[in-house]
Symmetry: C2
């Protein structure tokens, strides 16, 4: 019998973490990533700073990427898994390259799905006019704008004087069929507002919210700090619609649920804080490996409360946002946990239940 072999699908924070830990434990690891680079969605979309320490994404992820690259872990970029069978504890996969051609394959003792999430498409919230008004922007686009230190209104290239954030776009919204909370929208939006105020204190920043969910230490590190040190303003209420105002402005029409009256405020730019949903890769890999999907469309852990990185299929483990919205540190932690469980499963065929 040869060395134990592990396949990690997805090169984002969770997959990088799992691959590295398995390698460090002396295992043979192959990492498959459909993009041409490692780092996952945070890299792909050019995230700026990461809450709560407001560190650049590069500072958090690049050491992981460098270690994976430096360790000699087998990496297949521009590659997806096109077929999978599991027989007698052996996972056999075939790969396809990005142009759809067959690209080899292999046998493995266990697989970790770290196939991630995607941002909800704000076109579907039609009353916000995303795609119609150039100055209504998705928060991931704004994140890239902050990363490149280019703060300007798309319609005319001018510096905006008043920016608003609309939280929960495609989250907590029965109308669009997305019931759950994205766990990160509040924190990321507040962080973005602080980044704006830090660079341009003269810009007015307003966050429209239903509940501010800066749980744990984010409460003082982000929420209080944004109000007290950066003068970010918060308005409780959900925007009903966005309409065109005079001189190229946008009107955010809301019911202010604290002041108890309709509110119509003109803005130069409005940023839609979109929710998270399972990526197409997550859905496809779940299907390919026969892994259950839960009611919100993500991979269903074997037991959400005690076995969050196991799936219903022996030999197949899961980590990161494939099982639901999650912050980068939590995805990294889950990557380590999945590596541990996969390794012990292969090593001793540890039974899943006592």
């Amino acid at each position: 019998m040869g060395k134990q072999r592990f396949l990690v699908i997805g090169g984002g924070p969770a997959g990088l973490s799992a691959a590295l830990d398995l390698h460090d434990a002396g295992m043979d690891v192959e990492l498959v990533e459909k993009e041409s680079f490692l780092g996952g969605t945070p890299k792909k979309l050019h995230y700026s700073l990461i809450a709560p320490d407001l560190k650049p994404v590069e500072e958090v992820l690049d050491p992981l990427i460098k270690k994976v690259e430096g360790a000699g872990i087998s990496r297949k970029l521009n590659t997806t898994v096109s077929s999978a069978t599991i027989r007698d504890g052996v996972v056999t996969v075939k790969y396809a390259s990005s142009d759809g051609k067959q690209a080899g394959g292999g046998d493995f003792d266990a697989v970790i799905l770290a196939t991630g999430f995607t941002h909800w498409d704000p076109h579907k919230k039609y009353e916000y006019g995303y795609g119609l008004y150039p100055d209504v922007i998705d928060f991931k686009d704004f994140e890239a704008m902050l990363s490149s230190d280019r703060l300007e209104r798309p319609s005319d290239g001018k510096m905006p004087k008043r920016i608003g954030w609309l939280l929960c776009v495609g989250s907590r919204d029965r109308q669009v069929g997305k019931f759950y909370c994205c766990r990160l929208g509040c924190a990321v939006s507040i962080k973005q507002a602080m980044e704006v105020k830090k660079r341009h204190p003269e810009i007015d920043t307003y966050v429209y919210y239903m509940d501010i969910r800066t749980y744990g230490f984010w409460e003082d590190q982000l929420y209080w700090k944004s109000m007290e040190e950066y003068n970010v303003k918060f308005i409780r209420g959900r925007i009903g619609a966005i309409s065109r105002g005079e001189n190229g402005s946008l009107i955010a029409m809301a019911e202010d649920t604290i002041l108890q009256r309709p509110s119509e405020v003109p803005f130069d730019m409005l940023i839609l804080t979109t929710g998270m949903e399972a990526s197409s890769g997550t859905v496809e890999m779940a299907k390919l490996f026969g892994v259950d999907i839960e009611e919100h469309g993500f991979v269903k852990p074997l037991q959400a409360d005690s076995m969050p990185v196991h799936t219903n299929v022996d030999s197949v483990f899961v980590a990161g946002t494939a099982t639901g919205p999650k912050a980068i540190p939590d995805a990294i932690t889950e990557g380590s946990a999945a590596a541990m469980k996969a390794m012990n499963f292969v090593r001793r065929k540890v039974p899943l239940v006592a």
Copy 2:
């Protein structure tokens, strides 16, 4: 050189998980617990059901406990660590028994601190009259009441007709010096209200909140469900004080920040949802091992965003609520991650930074 030896301090969810994973990986593990039983605070305080699946705590933790007991992992109950030195990569500890006597010790290659949290003491929020009014109860006491299926007013043993929950007692409160959010109070309180309504639909249940933080899937699994299926009611506003009403009732005095007016509502029982802080064990062990404490009083991870289970001290790792408020599944996951990192550290002296 003998087998690699690991010490896990604390037998709650995180410690159990770490000990079991290390054992399954073929390592030699010793688990030290100051109480006379395993299971940590959830067992000690007789938690009832666990969100979001509303499973009994026993169903989640007992399989872990049984596996740890059945695996032949060395367990030292009623035991604390009384001294610790680290030299040349060897961690030498001495133990004390619960009566303070010396109780042996040992040499280890690495240590995992899983020393947990404690609930904030609501006596300190004097205006709520905890300790003065018998029907003002801490939510952990109410959890034990639910566990024993005994729902009665402490003052007279009668079934309450109207119960209120006060969220964020000792959380998000500058007055008492606790700035952070406890991450779990909203979910646990809503879960408690649902448990009440399930058994006694005729009881009125009100939750006083500032923001409802049922992040992720808790949004529909708990918050929406509690309103739509159980008719739990929510009032936005913080209770200023509790006073005595007529016929043994309690008056919750609040500013309703949605209706914009003072609100005084009589209740038969009021439940204080207290925050979380580092346990005395966490503080003591941090001191003993020279591990840094962060601004909220918990153990400071080496890097919160990428190394959440490392500490500033080589050979010393951390998992669970010792680093901050955390749900049971997250503590279990961190236990696995800490086991992985500790093992790789010992195995290859894997450098912490690339």
